[in-house]
C-alpha cells in the first residue's frame, strides 16, 4: 500500500485519553517533513476520558482543500479492541484497504468480530508499550505498524518528529523507549 491516491485518508478509533489525537498529529508532522500536505483533526464530539472517539488524518502530495470529516478511509486504526463490535469501524473500508488493530487476538479472531474481509493487521501495541516503555501507550507503538503497512511516511521522519516534540516534554530516556516501541512495532510481523 502506497501513497498513490490523491489524498490518503486514515481514521483512528480510540477511547478518549488513549492518545489517538497525539498519534494523528505525529503522523501529520512526519508527513510535513516530507513536504507533504496534511490534515489532522478529531471528530468534534464530546471529549470524555474512556468514551469512544475518532480522529482523522489526511496526507497528500497536493494541497488539501476539503474540510469534511473522513468518510471513506483507506486505513482504519483501532487503538482499543473493546471498540470492535460496538462501533462500525470498517464502514466504507473495502477489501483492498486495511485495518490495524491493537489486540492480543490473531487475524482470524478480529475478522470474526468485525466481519471485515480485507487486510487485517493485529498488533499487541499495548503489550509492546508495557514491555518497552513500562506504560500502556499503544498510540505511539501502533504508528510503527501503520507506517510499515501504508508507507505513507518514512519511519525515520516519524522518529525524528517524535524526538523533536517529546524529548523536552518527557525526557530523553522515555522518548527513546517510545522510539524503540515504534521501531519494534514497525519490524513486527
Amino acid at each position: 500500500m502506497k501513497l498513490d491516491k490523491k489524498i490518503f485518508e486514515i481514521i483512528f478509533h480510540a477511547r478518549g485519553g488513549q492518545g489517538a489525537k497525539t498519534a494523528a498529529e505525529l503522523l501529520a508532522q512526519a508527513a510535513l517533513k516530507e513536504e507533504k500536505f496534511i490534515q489532522a483533526f478529531p471528530d468534534f464530539g464530546p471529549e470524555r476520558t474512556g468514551a469512544p472517539m475518532k480522529t482523522f488524518v489526511r496526507v497528500s502530495n497536493e494541497p488539501i482543500k476539503t474540510h469534511e470529516p473522513v468518510v471513506d478511509p483507506d486505513v482504519v486504526v483501532i487503538l482499543d479492541e473493546t471498540l470492535l463490535g460496538t462501533i462500525d469501524a470498517t464502514k466504507n473500508l473495502d477489501e483492498n484497504e486495511a485495518m490495524i488493530v491493537n489486540t492480543t487476538s490473531d487475524r482470524e479472531k478480529v475478522k470474526e468480530k468485525t466481519g471485515y474481509i480485507g487486510n487485517i493487521y493485529p498488533i499487541d501495541a499495548t503489550g509492546l508499550s508495557l514491555e518497552i516503555i513500562g506504560e500502556p501507550r499503544p498510540n505511539t507503538a501502533i504508528l510503527g505498524k501503520l507506517l510499515k503497512v501504508t508507507e505513507i511516511v518514512k519511519l525515520e521522519n516519524l522518529v525524528d518528529v517524535f524526538r523533536e516534540k517529546y524529548t523536552g516534554k518527557i525526557g530523553a530516556e522515555k522518548t527513546e523507549k517510545n522510539v524503540r516501541a515504534i521501531e519494534k512495532a514497525y519490524d513486527s510481523l
Binding site: E25, F37, A40, F41, P42, F44, P63, K65
Partner: protein
C-alpha cells in the same frame, strides 16, 4: 521579494498564536475558560517562554477582558484578545464601545454556536450575532488564512481605527492541524510596523476624552462618521492585501471568486466549508457543469459593489449560512439578495441554505446536491442541509 517563510503544520488556533507572537501586542486581556480556544493557551505559553513580552491580564470574565482591552487601547497601546461563543455574548456590551471609541482592538474568534441548548461546537451564530457591533469581520478558510488575516486585519484596523475580528471556524479550523507558511519574524514585524495611536488618553500635550456623553445634538454625527469610516475600509484593504502579497507570495482580495468567470450556478459561503465547496465545484466542472464559488472573506464592511461585479453573470445562486436569523433572511443570504438587487436587467434565482449549526458536519456530497437543486426552476424556500 519573497522572504524565507517557514513551512509548518499547526491548528488554526496555534496559527493565530504564531501571528500574535510576531506582532507581540502590548496587552492581552483574556478570560481563559470554556468555551475558550487554543489561541490563548498557545500564546500564553509563548509569553511564559519569553517569546513575546505581552502583558497578559487574566480578567474575571469576558466582559472584563474586553473592557480591559478597551482601557489599554484607549491608553494608546496594541491590545488584543480572543473569544468564542458565550464569551462573545458576554462581551457584546463592550464591543460597540470599542468601535464607538475608535479603538483598533484585534480579536481572534473561533466561531461557535450560542446557547440554548448548550453547545460549544462550530457555527457562525456568535459572530453573526455581533455583526452590527461596528467591528471589521474577516472570515478564514483554513489555518493559513487565519495567520495571514491576523496580520492583515491588524493593519487595516489600525489604519482605520476600527476594531477587527479575525474569524475562524470553531473546531474545524481552530482545532485542526493543517499546513501553513509563516513569514520570517522580521517580515511580519515590518509589515505590521510600530503602533502609534492617533489619539490616546495619556497624551498630556494634546489631551482627549474617550466615550463621553453625547446627546441628541451630536450622537448622530458620531455614528455617521463611524459608518463612513467603516465603508472606507473596503477601499483601504486592497492596498494592504497588495503589500502582504509582495512579502508572502499569497494574493488575497475582498473575497475569493473561485471558478466564477463563466459560472452559471454558484454557491456563496464563508469559512472552512469553502474548501469543501471548492472540491465539489472541481468535480462538477470535470463533469462539464458550469459551477462556481464565491468565498466571503470580508463580511463587515460588506463589499456590495465588488460582489455584484462577480455575481452579475451567475443566474443561480445558493447562499450558505451557518446561522439562523429567526423570522428573517439568514445574514449572508440577506446581503446577497441586497447585492443582486443592484444589478440591472438580470433575473436571479437565490436559494437560501442553512447548514452546520452546532457543529453538524457538512459533506461535499451535500454541496453537490445543492448545485443539483439549482438546476430546477423552482426554489423551495430555505434548505436545511444535513438536517436529520
Amino acid at each position: 521579494m519573497i522572504n524565507n517563510s517557514k513551512k509548518i503544520a499547526l491548528t488554526g488556533g496555534a496559527a493565530a498564536a504564531e501571528a500574535l507572537r510576531q506582532i507581540n501586542p502590548d496587552v492581552m486581556p483574556v478570560y481563559p475558560i470554556t468555551p475558550q480556544t487554543p489561541i490563548i493557551e498557545t500564546f500564553a505559553k509563548m509569553v511564559a517562554d519569553g517569546e513575546a513580552d505581552t502583558e497578559m491580564i487574566e480578567a474575571e470574565s469576558e466582559h472584563s477582558a474586553m473592557s480591559a482591552a478597551v482601557g489599554a487601547s484607549a491608553a494608546g497601546v496594541r491590545a488584543m484578545t480572543a473569544s468564542s461563543s458565550q464569551g462573545i455574548m458576554l462581551m457584546a456590551e463592550i464591543l460597540p464601545i470599542a468601535s464607538g471609541m475608535r479603538l483598533p482592538i484585534l480579536m481572534l474568534v473561533s466561531a461557535r454556536a450560542i446557547s440554548a441548548p448548550i453547545n460549544i461546537h462550530g457555527d457562525h451564530q456568535d459572530v453573526m450575532f455581533v455583526r452590527d457591533a461596528g467591528w471589521i469581520q474577516i472570515f478564514s478558510e483554513n489555518a493559513q488564512e487565519v495567520y495571514d488575516n491576523t496580520l492583515i486585519a491588524l493593519k487595516l484596523a489600525e489604519k482605520k481605527r476600527i476594531p477587527a475580528m479575525v474569524i475562524m471556524d470553531g473546531f474545524q479550523t481552530s482545532h485542526s492541524v493543517e499546513n501553513l507558511e509563516i513569514l520570517e519574524n522580521s517580515a511580519a514585524k515590518n509589515f505590521v510596523g510600530e503602533y502609534k495611536a492617533k489619539n490616546h488618553l495619556l497624551d498630556f500635550e494634546d489631551p482627549k476624552t474617550f466615550g463621553p456623553v453625547s446627546l441628541p445634538n451630536s450622537f448622530f454625527e458620531f455614528k455617521r462618521a463611524q459608518a463612513e469610516s467603516m465603508d472606507g475600509a473596503i477601499g483601504e484593504i486592497g492596498e494592504i492585501f497588495g503589500e502582504y502579497g509582495k512579502i508572502s507570495g499569497r494574493e488575497y482580495d475582498l473575497f475569493e471568486a473561485y471558478r466564477l468567470d463563466d459560472a452559471e450556478k454558484a454557491i456563496v459561503v464563508a469559512g472552512s466549508t469553502a474548501g469543501t465547496a471548492k472540491v465539489a465545484v472541481d468535480e462538477l466542472r470535470e463533469q462539464g457543469e458550469k459551477a462556481g464559488l464565491l468565498k466571503i472573506k470580508l463580511f463587515r464592511p460588506f463589499p456590495y459593489d465588488q460582489v455584484a461585479e462577480v455575481l452579475k453573470n451567475v443566474g443561480k445562486i445558493a447562499v450558505f449560512d451557518r446561522t439562523v436569523s429567526f423570522g428573517a433572511n439568514a445574514p449572508l443570504c440577506g446581503e446577497i439578495i441586497q447585492t443582486i438587487s443592484t444589478i440591472p436587467n438580470k433575473k436571479f434565482t437565490i436559494q437560501s441554505c442553512i447548514y452546520g449549526l452546532g457543529g453538524r458536519e457538512i459533506f461535499k456530497e451535500d454541496i453537490k446536491k445543492v448545485f443539483e437543486g439549482l438546476s430546477g426552476d423552482k426554489i423551495e424556500g430555505i434548505k436545511y442541509i444535513g438536517l436529520k
